[in-house]
């Protein structure tokens, strides 16, 4: 397939793996965090770690938007959906995320009308088709997805679709990276920057990471060779004594991002003072809400919500997994009580969640490794 096969060439992966190994300083261990859940998925699906030397450890970060949704916000969505005359719409992975009162799928079984959409624009279309119903879009995602919600709100305003509103859970990546770097639990050496988030925000917002922390960051694409080349670029920085922001995903990402998308985001959204992230706790200025000019489309102002904080199940260690402190298989309930079919924690729900990605793909690599050791 065009634009795909050339980034999945196994022979090239071998070559890159050897060149990366040659750049490693003997005796040094490197921890590289991929911030984006899409990267986590690629790493496990294509066995990217298998091409790296043991001294390079890929650590999974909090970049799966479903995984960082706290249970209380799921319950708020269900409370909206259970009102008479409401249609709640959301992305597919959100349907199975467990809240304190079950998931959206379970709420549907109790009689709620929660529909999966591919785009917030589909939610707006449903609102146009159902003028006697309140249609709410449950918005999640990082800066990649927030522009589509913003554009939808602008179209709703232009068209006067007043039965449409947004329950906004959009989060921003920079404060989450700051929270991770401030965490005493984890020592990192470098970051693989989120490629599609960077399509919108560009590379400049990461420049404080090498400046203040001395850590390289390379914005990376999503194919296996993209990730290997990005690790190579990081290792080359180490070898040359540099710490910089570099852009491996230049075929998509402009260094200054998409200025039109940034302008639309600035018009429609405002930063929340605080927002709770699953696993990372409350982080200042890390999430978006509708700006006052668009408050009439804000579901949090249109409906009374419980707004109750719900503690994660005690057995669940998603928090540690999201911070990269624990590997998925080190969680007490991984693969036993918690599976993609019956997820306890959010990391097992989305395929971009570290636990689900490892459950679906990574365990085979681990089995191969075990067999090699035994033989």
């Amino acid at each position: 397939m065009r634009f795909v096969d050339e980034f999945r060439d196994a022979d090239l992966a071998e070559v890159l793996g050897r060149e990366i190994t040659a750049l490693c300083e003997p005796g040094r261990h490197y921890k590289v965090m991929e911030v984006c859940g899409g990267h986590t998925h690629t790493i496990y699906r294509y066995g990217v770690q298998d091409h790296l030397p043991e001294s390079i450890e890929l650590v999974h970060g909090p970049g799966c938007p479903v995984c960082v949704i706290p249970m209380g916000r799921v319950d708020d969505g269900i409370a909206i959906a259970e009102r008479d005359g409401v249609i709640l719409t959301c992305f597919g992975d959100m349907m199975r995320v467990p809240g304190g009162r079950g998931s959206f799928l379970e709420a549907n079984a109790r009689g709620a009308d929660i529909r999966m959409v591919y785009s917030p624009l589909d939610a707006l279309r449903i609102a146009r088709q159902n003028p006697d119903r309140q249609v709410v879009f449950y918005a999640i995602g990082f800066e990649t997805t927030a522009p589509s919600t913003a554009l939808t709100v602008l179209r709703a305003a232009q068209e006067g679709v007043e039965n449409f509103s947004v329950f906004c859970n959009h989060v921003t990546i920079i404060p989450a990276i700051k929270a991770i770097l401030d965490s005493p639990d984890l020592r990192l050496d470098a970051f693989l920057g989120p490629g599609h988030v960077s399509t919108v925000i560009g590379c400049r917002p990461y420049e404080w990471i090498p400046r203040d922390f001395g850590l390289p960051l390379v914005c990376a694409g999503f194919e296996p060779l993209d990730l290997l080349q990005s690790v190579y670029m990081i290792m080359k920085q180490f070898a040359e004594g540099r710490a910089e922001v570099e852009n491996q995903y230049g075929r998509v990402v402009q260094y200054d991002g998409n200025p039109v998308a940034l302008k639309v985001l600035a018009e429609v959204f405002a930063l929340r003072p605080f927002f709770e992230w699953r696993g990372l706790g409350s982080i200042a200025h890390s999430a978006l809400q509708l700006a006052p000019a668009y408050a009439r489309f804000d579901a949090e102002q249109r409906f009374d919500l419980p707004g109750v904080r719900v503690a994660d199940p005690k057995a669940c260690q998603c928090g540690e997994v999201l911070k990269g402190v624990l590997k998925p298989w080190e969680c007490k309930v991984f693969g036993t009580a918690c599976t993609p079919e019956t997820p306890i924690g959010t990391c097992m729900v989305s395929s971009e969640g570290a636990c689900a990605a490892y459950y679906n793909y990574g365990q085979y690599a681990k089995q191969r490794l075990t067999l090699e050791v035994l033989s």
Partner: protein, 74 residues
């Protein structure tokens, strides 16, 4: 659902920060009918990338083009 469903790949392409490179077929006001490499088509909002013409390649996420891609072949 007007676009590719969540589940064409394992997982949800929308919330997993996945974006697809599509080719513009026709322009329909603020939208463009676009085709994926596998032949699937979808209607894409193009306000965030400026005017497009048939043949342009755009990066699409959640039914919205978020970047224009440099063409590598005709």
């Amino acid at each position: 659902m007007t676009g590719p469903a969540c589940g064409t790949e394992p997982g949800c392409i929308t919330c997993g920060d996945v974006a697809l490179a599509l080719t513009v077929l026709t322009v329909e006001g603020s939208d463009a009918r676009c085709r994926a490499d596998d032949g699937r088509t979808e209607l894409v909002a193009t306000e965030l990338v400026g005017a497009v013409v048939p043949g342009d390649r755009v990066l699409v996420h959640a039914g919205v083009a978020i970047e224009r891609l440099v063409r590598r072949e005709s």
